[in-house]
Every structure is written in C-alpha cells, then in structure tokens.
Symmetry: C2
Subunit: 492 residues, 2 copies
C-alpha cells in the first residue's frame, strides 16, 4: 500500500491526537500550526500515544508513517487524502482556513472539522466546494477513544461520506454518522446537560467536584462504559422488557428534578469555587501524571472489554482482524512460508496492562503471550474455533518458562515456535520470545489432545495428525533447543 497523507491543521491536544492516530496507523502526517510550540506540544501527545495505542492491539499496527512540520498551508495540504481542521472555535477563522486549504488541496480530499460548536452547513457556507467539508468531531484522547461524530449535509454526496467513514474505520475509529445536523451533535448534548447540572450542584453546596466525580465513576459511569444508556435500562427492566421499564420511568419525565430549565450564572465566584475544589481533588498530580494515569486506565479497561468481546473491546477486536497479518499469523499450515524454520506465532507490542508499576512486563504475561502462540500453533495445524466447537481441543499439561531478559510497555515482541513432537494425542512445543533479535524468554509446553465432553485425552482428527506430520518432517533438521528438556535442579 502506498503511504497515505493526512494534513493536520491546528495542533494542540486535539490536533496532536489526530496526528498520532494517523501516524501510528501508517499514514504520513503533515502538520500546519503557526504556534512556535506546536512541535513540542504534538511531540508530547505523540509520546503518550506511542506508549498506549500500539499495545491496545493484539496484532502489530502498520509501520509508523513520517511526520513533517510545515510553515506553508498550501504546501502542507497538497496531495493529502485527509485534512483535519482543529483551529479555534471561531467561524470566521475556520472559513478563512478553508479558503486557503481549498485553493491547493485535491478535490477528492476530505476536509474534516473537529468542531463541537458548529454544524457542517455553517462551515460549508460560502466555500468554494461545500461538499468537501464535513464535521468529524473526536473525543480526547483522540489516539485511544474510538468515537468520532461524522456529520454531513445534503451538499456532501453519499459516496464521499462513505469514503470518509471508511478512512476513519481504517485508523481504528467508530464513525457515528449523525442522521441530521443538530447543534452540538450528539455526545456533547449529554455532556452539556451533565455539566450544567454539575455546576448547579457545586454552586448550591450539594456536592463537591470530587463527590460528583465519585458519584459518576463508582456508579453509572462504569455501567455506561460498556452498555451505554438504553441497553443498561433494558437490563434494569428485566424480563418484562423495555416497555415495562419505560412505563416505570416514563412518569419521571414530568418531574421537575433537573435545574436545567435554568442556567447558573457564570461568575468569577463560580469559577473560583470549581477550580479550588478541583485543585483540592486532583492537585497532588501534575497534568502529565493524570494523562498517563488516564491512558493506563483506558487501555486496561478497553482491553478488559476486549477479552469480553463487548463494546469498545468488540470494536478493537474487529479492527485487529482487519489488519493485514504477517506470514505465520493467519491461515493454516499451507499459509506458512518456510515450514523448515520455527514458525512466527506471535507479533505484538507489550500493552500497558501487562506491565508493573515500573513498566516491566510481568511474569504471568510471558505465559499469556506463550499461550497465545500455542493457540495460534493449534490453529495452524487445524485445531481452530470450528474444530474446538466440534468437541476436541488441546490442554496444556506442563509448562517450563525461562526468563532471559526483560521487556517494557510498548516494546514489540515476537514468538517463534518449534514443534518438538506432534504425534497422536501428544504435542510438545518450544517457543522462543524475542524483542527485536534479542531472546528474552523461552516457553516449553507439553499438551494433550482432549475430548471436551469427557475432558480426557484422545487422538486428534486425521487432518491435524497430517498437518503435524508435515511440520515434523519440515523441522526435522532443526537442532534440539538449548534449554529444552531441562528441569529446575534439585538443590545439593
């Protein structure tokens, strides 16, 4: 694939997040931002993204693109397939920038605006090619959160919008196509409603900023992270269903609970009250520390959802499946290029949730990685999900791990697998884990084929036996690995 070019107009936290997301997904990125600090600021966002995003995937991301900084907007947008505008929220500034962009950019390029405050029809008005400009409103941190609100108008043709959605999906995002343009799109309407209510609660001394945060994150916040609003209520409604829930909850609609009919006055006193409480709540941490804590939390929770194949985790799994795998990482025995050498069975970055507080990969995650390699090897010989569903599988009986060197969060690791024995119900594997070319661990595993019904050993299918025989023959020339067949010595 030829490298594709994204042009980021306006750096800062949002522009930097876009830059990182495109770059780490293999795009070349050009940045235009007159701020002399732009390179430093984007560099900081990129450093955060590099430690968190690659490990969110269970497969390697494409090679990083190249990032360049440009003083000339006309030059920066030339040949770009995507132009993302994240300049300040003033319509006059945005319209002026679109004029400059459209003077030299490709007619096929998508011009996406990060605006939360303007509707696409407002952004398009009076521009040279209105149909080229759409809203693509992301959420911070842009390099981790998949949501992006995609809002178009009748001026944008459907094919063009489809292409834009496809590009966003390609960089791991979830383009939510808003059906009709509306002030604040969708998510910010909720944020705005909650924000105003929160200001009232603080102003009236009902709760502090910290108590409000706790009311959210110890309760409905965790629920919403996985099911959102309606599915959560569907469950709450029980067997009687959503209609029943609505009947119970519907009447509340007319209760005058919310203060949102009214808006608290924006005064210096209110600002000082909120800022003071926020200092008390979070002032012990720097913003950098909070950002890293947030990213650690988000990656860990999103990977937790990934293991459940649910919500944002299901999205990530689907994205992983769509990435082009290296040889060895997909298909059966016929798909392996050179069967005579140890087979590549794992290639990934060490994710943040695999590491200890020092950033070192923890002991049990070595076995996690080796177990993934074993699963992949099973798939190669034909013991895939269909086969397992039919009632047979391999169970590990014994494992021997040697730790030779260390790995840190974000390190790219790979595992190559030699089959020491694959005959009848027995499977004996030797995995070598590398960081670059450095051997960092070995995992020796003895597995037995079992019936999932009786959970007792039994022979595998003939196809599996045949695939193992092919690998045994091809790998017959390999030396027996140093360290295999070794025991932890009995002390003298």
């Amino acid at each position: 694939m030829t490298k594709r070019i994204a042009c980021i107009v306006g750096g800062g936290v949002i522009g930097g997040g876009w830059a990182a997301r495109f770059l780490l997904n293999g795009w070349d990125v050009r940045v235009f931002d007159p701020d002399p600090e732009a390179e430093r600021k984007i560099g900081e966002v990129l450093a955060n993204a590099r430690r968190s995003l690659p490990g969110l995937s269970d497969v390697p991301l494409p090679e990083e693109g190249t990032m360049t900084f440009h003083a000339d907007l006309a030059e920066a947008v030339r040949d770009a397939a995507w132009i993302q505008e994240s300049v300040p929220e003033r319509l006059d500034i945005k319209l002026k920038v679109y004029g400059q962009i459209q003077a030299t950019c490709s007619q096929n390029a998508v011009i996406g605006s990060s605006t939360s405050g303007f509707k696409p029809s407002e952004l398009q008005e009076g521009t040279a090619r209105p149909g080229q400009i759409i809203v693509t409103h992301p959420f911070n941190p842009v390099y981790l959160l998949p949501l992006v609100e995609l809002v178009a108008t009748p001026a944008s043709n459907a094919e063009f919008v489809d292409k834009a959605a496809e590009i966003l999906t390609g960089i791991g995002m979830y383009p939510l196509r808003v059906r009709k343009e509306i002030d604040a799109h969708i998510a910010d309407r909720f944020l705005e409603a909650v924000w105003r209510e929160a200001l009232w609660l603080v102003k009236d001394g009902i709760a502090t900023t910290e108590e409000i945060d706790n009311a959210i994150r110890y309760g409905f916040g965790i629920r919403w992270a996985q099911m959102g609003l309606f599915e959560t209520y569907r469950v709450a409604g029980g067997e009687a269903g959503m209609k029943h829930f609505m009947e119970q909850f519907g009447p509340c609609l007319s209760w005058p609970w919310t203060k949102l009919m009214d808006v608290p006055e924006y005064t210096d006193e209110l600002v000082d009250l909120i800022a003071g409480q926020s200092d008390e709540q979070s002032g012990a941490y720097t913003i950098r520390e909070l950002e890293q804590a947030r990213d650690n939390n988000l990656v860990s929770m999103m990977r937790a959802l990934k293991s459940q194949d649910w919500g944002a985790g299901a999205l990530l799994n689907a994205h992983d499946k769509g990435l082009k795998p290296q040889s060895g990482l997909a298909g059966g025995v016929d798909a392996i290029g050179d069967l005579s050498q140890p087979i590549l069975t794992l290639a990934r970055a060490v994710p943040l949730d695999w590491t200890d507080y020092n950033g070192h990969m923890t002991e049990s995650r070595y076995l996690d990685a080796f177990a993934q390699s074993t699963d992949r090897f099973m798939e190669i010989i034909g013991c895939d999900s269909d086969y397992i569903a039919s009632g047979g599988s391999y169970f590990t009986a014994e494992t021997h791990i040697r730790h030779i060197d260390e790995a840190l969060a974000g390190d790219r690791i790979s595992v190559r697998t030699q089959m020491l024995l694959g005959q009848g119900k027995k499977l004996h594997l030797f995995h070598r884990m590398y960081k670059g070319d450095t051997l960092i661990a070995t995992g020796e595993h003895f597995l037995l084929h079992v019936s999932l019904e009786t959970r007792k050993p039994c022979p595998p299918s003939g196809d599996i036996e045949a695939a193992m025989a092919r690998i045994a023959q091809a790998q017959a020339g390999l030396d027996y690995p140093e360290g295999a067949g070794a025991a932890i010595r009995k002390p003298a």
Copy 2:
C-alpha cells in the same frame, strides 16, 4: 465476630442485590416480601452475585451468612442492625411499612430506603422515630457497584449517620454523603438529564437507541468510568489548569443546546419507538445473558482499575486490605502459625476475568496466582514493598507448571508453599494449588535476588537470609515434592 443481621424489606432486583451484598459479606439476611415469587427472584440475583462478587476481591470474603424468608415483618426486623426498604415508590406504602417496622425493630437499627424519588424528610414525616430513617440509594447491580447515596436530615444524629456509613463501607460500598437533601439526590439528576435528552434525540430521528449507546460507550462513558467529569476536564484543560478550561467552556453555558428546557411528551408512539429500537439493538440476547455480560464486563473493568489502583479499583483494594486475613496471608515470618508445613500464601475466588468463555480458569492465570503466592512469600521473608523501594527484589528465572485438574469462575482456590532452597541469592519455591482439598496444579519457581539498579544478581539483606534460614530449618522434615525437579521429557 458475631453474625450481624440485615433485614431486606421488598425483594426484586434492588432488594435482591442488597440481600446478596450483605450475605456474601458475612451477614445473616432475612427477607420479607409478600410476592410468592420472591424466593425465586432473589435466588436468581444471588446466583449472579455469587459468580461475580467473590472474585472481585483478591482475598477471601468472610464466610457467607444465612438467608431466611419471613412472612411476618415484625418477626423479620427483630434484632436486625440494618433494615433496607426497597418497596414500590409510593409514599403511602413506604410510610405504612415504616410504621410496621418501627413497632418491633431495635431503636439502634438503621432503616435505609432505596428510594430515588423521595427525600429523607418526606420519609421521616409522621413516623415514630424519624431520626432512624435515612436514604441509602444504591445502583444496579447492587452487589457489584460500590456507590450508595446516603442522605440524612437534621433529625438524624451525626453518630448514627456515621455508624450507617461505616456499615456500608464494611460491605464494600462507597457511601456518598449528600450534604443537603435535594430531589433525586445526585446521580439520578444526571441520569434524568441524559435520559430526557436521549428521548428527544430518538424522537426527532437524530439517532437510534443503539447509536446513542455507542456515542456513550465508545467515548465519554469510558472516560467517566475512571475519572468522572471534573477530573476529566481538568486533564483536558492541560497545564493551564481548571480555570482555563472553565474560561473556554464557560460561555457554552448560555448556548441553547439542550432541549431540556422542554420535556418530550410521553406518548405510546414514543414508547413503541424506543422499545422497538431497543429490541433491534439488543433483542438477540435474553435479559439473563445481558446481565451476565454486564457483570463480566463490570468485573473485568473494575479489576482492570484495581490493577491501576484507581477509581473504583482503588476502592476495592482498600476494601481488600480491611478484610481480616487468614494466617499466612499477612505479616512476616513471625506471624506464620506453623512454619514446619507448607505455608498458605494465597486464598481467593477465581474471578470472572481469569476464565475463558467456558468459565474455566485460563492457563496464564495459574501463573498469575502462583506469582501472587511468590510475592506473598517474599513479603513473609521481608522482601516487602519498603525493601523493594530500597533497591532489592527477587526476579523469577525459571518456572515449571503442571496442570492436574481444573477450576471454574467463583471456585475458592488456595496455594501452599514449600521452600526447597533459600540461601544467598537463590530462592527455590514449590507451590501447590488446591481447590478445596484437590490438588489442581503445582508451580515450581527458581528466583534470584537482584539489585534493581544494576538488574544483576546480588545477595539479599541479612534479615532476609535469617528468615529463609528459619523456614529452611522448620521445613527440613518435609518430603521433597513429587514432581519437583522434573523436566518435560525429550521425545524418544
């Protein structure tokens, strides 16, 4: 500790959740609910709680209490220290129930109401002992989510409210003490504001229920699960701080974004629209399946936060620390009862996030458990967090695991540890993992004491050497374990 008694008045999803939370935290539970289906319904909630709550802890919960069902309310509340009312949201019904409860309950008992719709002053009015009645409003699923809004009035004395908060903390909850009573307390004000806005969006055809759920769970929902609203915005504000953020965002306050100034009319058409979209979105799952998916997700995410010691995870860690440990699970070598036998170094339930789709504990989690046992053993010999902070620790060089039997989500497992060698920089451990009395796995580990600065082997402190010598002498009479020192055999 003598068993304490909680009386649950009104079953259903909320009452059942309370019953499960008290019961699994060691309280005896009496249930009063005239519904002939109450026992079945509470049994179903309890089954969900048993598969999810015990494994949320990294230490064993107290022994379960006893649950009984009562037809006579007067008898049920006698001697109860906590009485939780979760009857329908009608003030006349609630007041009648309080009259019956107060006729026989202890004057010191807390009467907590699960109400979301009434203020405590409304519940207290005209009752025999108003100060005894407070609002304790939980969130579904009550057995997993820690948040409970505790609302009192001037009629409740401070000591009494403190005691109530302490009891709630004791069963793993976070009592959010609302400073002034207010309609809908705190969290439901947010839920209500979002709910109304969501109804507008569906009614006006801007988004479907599924799109709204995705707008939440792929974006701000995951952010809120860990930092809530204000801390999230503090980070967004960057180095310039919360005041700067307010200045940027403050003006939005006067924008007429939200439709909440107005309330959508509650019509059959609106109900059918929402219920129909919800069926399309989630109808492929039964409510039971959705409940289990929700609990799997919540447990996995809360445990992810636990590993980061943040938000609800920090709360869980603090709760674990407060539980009374079994011998072997706290203190140094002097705290171990009988040093001559393998030492108990782990006792816990298998959590949901340690299991595969079949509910079986996955391979790498055996090593996770053994690594926890190794950490605990290190602590026993004096290699605790202070020692590690001073620059020394043990690194695992080699591991040998044998799988003998299986464990399922929720199973109580324990590990007992025999020291095969503890001398100089060498530490050789043999862990046996049991489910009840059944040996299900062994883990043999060879560790080296290292300097965390050079990351090279070096001798440990004299105190650690001395502690190891005491254990070596005490365990000298134990047989060398069957399976220790064994290798995976080289195939003939």
